[in-house]
Symmetry: C2
């Protein structure tokens, strides 16, 4: 393993791509003294398009192979998951730059068109993550970020002990209750079948699976769901608090819109009773939110429109007040299914003292409705904990990191391809290729049936990762698994089996159902102790928002690492996307406000992996990681993050500060005197030229910048715009 | 109201009756100086029998009228709830004493026999409490008992943070889920009807109810119950911990034996599969426990018996180990439905570090199975709280008292007269006299349907009592009511309505579902703060065991007060029964070990009520109460409770100490100098003659005592035996 380690830096899109022009030279200049190479690989939208047509090598394909090798060490910056309009735009730009690309065929007819379309299809949507993420998830707060939050806590509103807010969930009939699960005893192909009352069989889907894989099926009763909404809405009314629904229609994009639609069908029941015919005529689909009605209302004659609006007003008078997304503009919780996303919205309610905003802009207690009990109970636990023990204090709480089961699309309940709405009363069953019925569910027409698959290898790797994290950190690991859930029982068995392979003498481990895991974790959290949550994919998604938001105010500042199954590592940055508005501002007025904090932190981790990849011999790499981490601490402490307005400190200036603090730390460390010697003059020069450098940068602000392209900038132009300080450049280049 | 208050002292049976001969003269002698009368009323079994046949006035009938008057102030000592054999014994004894009583007619045939039988029937079973308890329940720990427990804590075993014990409850199909409830809008007669699939209607029962009364109906699905047992038993096996079931077959005496029986049907499934025919032949009823099989097994040929025993042994090898009632004698949790009673058994598991005893006498973690979610969740909360925060420390915890809804048979879910097992699939419905269907439940054959009734006046009185307790104590009151339960929603509405009638400016009140109420209460409890739980009848029963056992090691030392709806008060003593074994010991060797602590504590409360009944004018009564309470503190602190063995301190000696401490306190108080003057010489005489008095008592120990009857002692003989110290008697009689 004593190979010279190489870190891959991904070339991406928009703001992080621009920031790279300034940041990468600094990183390279520093780490070359630790004998670490940085190699750039292009996964930008433009790069992916050009690769499809042979203009450049296919770096994504290259990385797709690399992640299955132990030497993979990839800094994955945020890139564009392109919509079709974005793709068309990008193609136009590339054509204008002289690339001979065919137009995007909206309706491909000829063989040639179809071939072109197939190539473009490979560039659309989320195509990078599924290739690079060949591992489970390791998410945590880096020490400097945690330290910063303790010194500069964000605001958490107090909670009254008389708060009436609570999490409401179903008593029965939900996915939690109906789950069944099997572990496959051999490789097989399974099929999902619907059998109607007459015995007619329809095959819904077929998939290939391997021995040891876990297959689940479950369903939610729509009848019980509606009864539940009725009950909760009445209770909100009775208590005179806000009604709110928290789902994840963006991810569970087949099941959750249906749940959302049912909330509308119950809350606005009178609307459907009085105007059912008209609503059907105009094609109102409640699953798309009340906004769909607003959009389609104009199809009706004005007097009908008025009648309907009046009915809605009357409903608002009778029903409990709705939790508002935007009370100024009358946007309610039930307007758009994607507006209130449980993983972000519940933490928002918590930060806001267990309150939401009502129709008149008032803050008030609210029913937090999360129908399915699989995860609602852990939210209930934290909400009730706050009511009893008070609001969390970011200066005192510990840290809850996460090891999440994510590899190979583990537990993707949201997968639309295995969610079905039975067309009639009947049975949905899963049958293997030998005709054995693995499980079956008696369902009613319209119930929400969904299934998910978890690969054996992914589960075993996840346990390994958890044990490794426990050993590295000395913190307890808690598997959030519920012995009363069929799927979790399969996992518990594998976890116990797998744990036996490790020396656990220095590992404190637990298996607890979500509510109890939350209780255990919160007790430690409030005492300032750290705990590692080891969870399935959905809880990974929920908890990696929940705790970072409580701890440091945002989940965007958490480290997001994918330790690849093959042994390498993927370091993801930028939970906030690739920030198109930042680019617009930069082009217009020469000010970039992208904060590279995520890149700094990820790079620390990439360096730590590089050290391991060096055979744990090259101590200089560790010094690099350690000093960079300290530099980030100073960066935060002295508030050197980019500011919003032109003329203030921007991304480029912030990189100066990082380089300076890092050089100072390297010069100050005494583990490697030779290395210190190298960086002493660098630090001195950076300090001495502080004003000059910042002025050289500031001087370029306020005027438009030409970067030679939005999706495919001209490297020379972009670099010139992003490295405007000759003084800084010469110091960096001379290191 | 400025009437001279009279406290009723009930003449009862067995040990407390004997103790009264010694204690009552002391109480009378002291309180006459506060102008309080003590009047004796006979509710003993013998007294009730003699009253039926005109030998003595019917004191129970008298008290039945008195409790509906504000001047009622009754010390209710424990008496015999007679079984038929006990009644026959008592009749024989009375006949031997010369009373001309007819024999008990086992099979009455003639009119005369039937009349006699009717009279005796009025003496059988629990006939006193239903007459005297015309109010809700006020239970708490008296200050001296709490102080004593803090100084001399009982043992609570530590809990490992890795404990695998947990409370298992159903996910659906239980009473909790299916509950429906209505508040009657007018006086009416309701009937319970079963409607089969063909529409045939059977009337199951009819009852008269009043406007404002709350009627509930619910059922438990036997199918889901069995699936649940299957799941839990497998989980216990998987975790290799003990399986235990906790029900209350003694109180819920129709529904809970059926639940118990299903646990047997699932745990011993193989037994029924292999030997179903034979088990049916011999009439084995699993609802009566495995003991029923053991009792009936001899009806089978020896080789069959062996086969069955072998099957059972094999089952024990395959199934999880059972929680044992008595591992020495192989008595399991599933042997007798009455052996493991949830309100006492769960606290026992808690005291024992969340562990039970297994088949080999080993202690181990256990699944605590409590099928119905109505109350299981609050047990789950306390168990999980202990796992996370550690065992309770009796020297530090606060106190949780209870105001329980009990009046007029409120919420008696246990009532066998409204529990039904549908004879086939169909509907059970409740219909009022106008033919309106108040509610209906679709049930399957054998499901457990039950209904209960709560009287409006009882609910309103309960709220009043809670507010009064809050004002008196300054402690917060928490109504344990669940907005997701139909019955509780009816109550919440009434509670909110009722609370508006009071000035709540000095009252801290909450309404919380049981799990959250427990969480809130425990947080305070662990901080040493007191909280008043305001609950329905079942939770009253459960919590008044749970918290006293944690706080002071036993619920027998808690005060049990029934503030009568009419304004008077009933002070109950002796949760431990009337102790027949104590009487046997006294008769045999002249040593009585009845501890009158309950009487002392109740008398303090009776005096406080007497003060109020004096128009709150006679301060001397308060001084009496206050000094008696302090005397009890000394009594406990100096460990003057009766000991078990002959020659040690007994009940009579313990009364000497109480009288002495009380006299000392009265002499020492400076609120009423005149009163102090009266008791100075008394205290001095008691101190001076300590050795003499105790020796006079001790001298009578070791020899048999003749008290002239077991059920109907001779007053002169019993008094002589119980007041053997001439020195003490002359001091007391001279006060």
């Amino acid at each position: 393993m004593a190979k010279k380690p190489t870190i891959i830096w991904t070339k991406v899109d928009e703001a992080p791509a621009l920031a790279t022009y300034s940041l990468l030279p600094i990183m390279r200049a520093f780490v070359k003294h630790a004998d670490v190479d940085i190699e750039v690989r292009d996964i930008s939208l433009a790069g992916r398009i050009l690769a499809q047509f042979g203009y450049v090598p296919d770096d994504l394909a290259y990385l797709g192979e690399l992640v299955w090798k132990p030497e993979a060490n990839i800094m994955k910056l945020p890139n564009i998951s392109a919509s079709i309009p974005q793709l068309i735009d990008a193609v136009k730009e590339l054509q204008s730059q002289g690339y001979d690309l065919p137009d995007f065929p909206e309706n491909p007819q000829t063989e040639e068109e179809k071939e072109i379309r197939a190539k473009y299809d490979k560039c659309i949507g989320s195509v990078v993550n599924p290739v690079l993420r060949q591992g489970n998830s390791d998410r945590r707060i880096a020490p400097p970020v945690k330290e910063y939050a303790k010194k500069h806590p964000h605001r958490m509103r107090d909670v009254s002990p008389k708060s009436l807010s609570y999490v409401a969930h179903m008593k029965s009939g939900d996915f939690y209750e109906n789950e069944k699960s099997v572990t496959l005893k051999k490789d097989t192909k399974i099929r999902y079948e619907f059998v109607d009352k007459e015995g007619n069989v329809t095959v819904l889907k077929e998939i290939e699976l391997g021995m040891g894989d876990v297959v689940d099926g479950t369903y939610m009763s729509r009848k019980k769901l509606k009864e539940f909404f009725e009950e909760v809405i009445n209770d909100a009314k009775e208590k005179d608090i806000l009604f709110s629904l928290h789902v994840k229609a963006t991810m569970m994009r087949v099941s959750d819109p249906a749940i959302f639609g049912d909330a509308i069908r119950v809350y606005y029941k009178e609307l459907f009773e009085k105007h059912g015919k008209e609503l059907e005529e105009i094609g109102f689909d409640p699953n798309k939110g009340l906004i769909d009605l607003e959009n389609k209302l104009s199809k009706l004659p004005p007097e009908k429109q008025e009648e309907i609006k009046k009915t809605i007003e009357e409903i608002y008078k009778k029903q409990p007040r709705l939790y508002m997304v935007d009370s100024d503009n009358g946007i309610t919780n039930l307007h758009r299914p994607n507006d209130v996303i449980v993983d972000a919205s519940v933490p928002a309610v918590i930060k806001n003292g267990l309150q939401g905003w009502g129709p008149s802009g008032e803050t008030d207690d609210c029913v937090i409705t999360i129908p399915d009990r699989s995860y609602a109970t852990m939210y209930s636990e934290i909400v009730e904990d706050i009511k009893v023990r008070g609001q969390f204090d970011p200066t005192k709480v510990g840290s809850v990191s996460n090891v999440g089961l994510m590899a190979m699309k583990a537990e993707e309940y949201g997968s639309h391809d295995k969610t079905f709405f039975p067309p009639a009363d009947g049975v949905i069953r899963i049958v293997d290729e030998d005709g054995n019925v693995l499980m079956e569910h008696e369902v009613e027409e319209g119930d929400i049936y969904r299934s998910c698959v978890t690969k054996d290898i992914a589960i075993r790797d996840w346990v390994k990762l958890a044990v490794n994290r426990a050993k590295e950190s000395g913190e307890p690991i808690v598997f959030w698994l519920d012995h009363m859930r069929a799927h979790d029982r399969q996992l518990i068995e594998k976890v116990k089996e797998e744990l036996q392979k490790y020396d656990l003498s220095d590992v404190e481990w637990y298996i607890k159902p979500p509510r109890e895991a939350m209780k255990f974790t919160l007790e430690r959290f409030r005492k300032g102790l750290n705990t590692i949550s080891v969870t399935g994919n959905v809880l990974r998604d929920y908890l990696t928002d929940l705790f970072p938001i409580i701890e440091v105010g945002t989940s965007a500042r958490a480290l997001s690492i994918v330790p690849e199954i093959a042994g390498g590592g993927l370091f993801e940055t930028g939970a906030g996307g690739s920030a198109p508005k930042h680019v617009q501002q930069f082009v217009k007025e020469g000010h970039l406000r992208w904060d590279s904090l995520g890149e700094f932190l990820a790079f620390v981790e990439a360096l730590k992996l590089a050290y391991k990849q060096s055979g744990s011999t090259n101590k200089r790499i560790l010094i690099m990681a350690d000093t960079l981490s300290k530099a980030v601490g100073k960066y935060l402490d002295n508030d050197k993050t980019p500011k919003r307005k032109v003329g203030e400190l921007d991304t480029r200036g912030s990189h100066y500060w990082l380089a300076r603090y890092w050089a100072e730390e390297l010069a100050a460390q005494d583990t490697d005197a030779e290395l210190a010697k190298i960086f002493e003059p660098v630090a001195a020069a950076l300090i001495e030229n502080e004003e000059k450098i910042l002025e050289e940068i500031r001087a370029t602000e306020g005027s438009p910048k030409d970067i030679g392209g939005y999706y495919h900038p001209d490297d020379a132009k972009a670099e010139a715009a992003m490295r405007p300080s000759a003084t800084l450049n010469s110091i960096i280049d001379s290191i």
